[in-house]
Symmetry: C2
């Protein structure tokens, strides 16, 4: 008889938050530390920033390529953020979870909300800057956006922050190392949830419970 438990299923971690909260740096350090996590590389039509690698940070595609994929139903979710398109591969997520992998998605708040409808059992982590002033300072420092774009991102950040209650965990990025450690701890704690360990428990005890 097939057991009804989640032990053989993967875990979906969705990391989200306003642009400029420091998500990318946190995730890149986290992935180095936590080898059990597999990163879902998103497709995007936005321009590649310095230091970003195609296939590692994003799959950089044209608007036409993106539209073709969307039409073929290849995205789990897709969204337009600040005039650019972002999409998550349906196949990567579905197959990864079926294989029992721990997947990490870095998506915008809008996209995270869409994924939550499909995977309510996922773990939703919101990364926030310590304050809106700090966010503004970071966007200016990054130097990739115009003043108008920064104003738009700040307005969007307020909307994004208003959805924080729909997330499970909050990581306030005051200090990069602490923020990385926080997510690492969330991942380890989630791995200790009873429902994820039923197979292990049965095996250790030598009988079914």
């Amino acid at each position: 008889m097939k057991k009804t438990n989640n032990s053989d299923k993967g875990i979906l971690y969705v990391v989200s938050g306003p642009s400029g909260a420091g998500k990318s740096s946190i995730i890149s350090m986290l992935l180095e530390r936590c080898s059990s996590l597999e990163f879902s590389v998103s497709y995007t039509t936005r321009k590649r920033r310095e230091g970003e690698q195609n296939g590692k940070d994003y799959f950089f595609v044209t608007k036409e390529e993106f539209e073709d994929m969307r039409r073929r139903g290849e995205f789990l979710e897709w969204a337009e953020v600040h005039g650019n398109f972002y999409g998550t591969s349906k196949r990567f997520v579905n197959e990864g979870l079926k294989e029992g992998k721990q997947l990490l998605l870095d998506i915008d708040v809008q996209g995270a909300m869409n994924v939550k409808k499909l995977f309510p059992e996922g773990i939703y982590i919101f990364i926030t800057p310590p304050s809106l002033e700090a966010l503004k300072a970071r966007l200016i420092k990054r130097g990739t956006e115009s003043d108008a774009q920064i104003a738009r991102r700040l307005k969007d950040a307020k909307w994004e922050l208003s959805h924080i209650k729909e997330f499970d965990y909050i990581v306030m990025n005051e200090d990069l190392d602490t923020a990385v450690e926080d997510i690492y701890i969330i991942v380890r704690a989630e791995g200790l949830k009873v429902h994820r360990n039923m197979d292990k428990i049965r095996k250790a005890l030598g009988y079914d419970i």
Copy 2:
């Protein structure tokens, strides 16, 4: 207007598991490491073991004293385990939570189930030995129980393990340091839950969300 959130409420951690799983050692090390946790000292009628301190490990009381407290409704929960009585102070828990404290309760599985009915929002952690054989070996090594008592504890352990699904987290005590670290991690991760940080988030952002 009063905000409806849990930020100003304490957190109740309930640690439970079969006798001999190593709960006491784990908790005593955890409390040293995690100064934010406050231990709820239970009342018991069982004999004091070597090294145990009255008022620190337990409040050791007579059967008559226990019965008086029980009759006066001073226990949040009480249970008879292996012929001894154990009770948790209602006042300590209720007042501690009201004051926003993080309380740690060490109670038997039966007691934990009763507390869960009263505090479904608590965090329930099950500490299990790596196997039933290991549990047996530990009980023999402890040398405080007769063969009949050990047989009874093993029988009870099977019943207790059958309730594991009603807990949130499992900590398998194969190695003491790892088990302590596991609970420490659970406590830190729980502290990152969004609903416990709404006040902090509002304060950092400077406006209500």
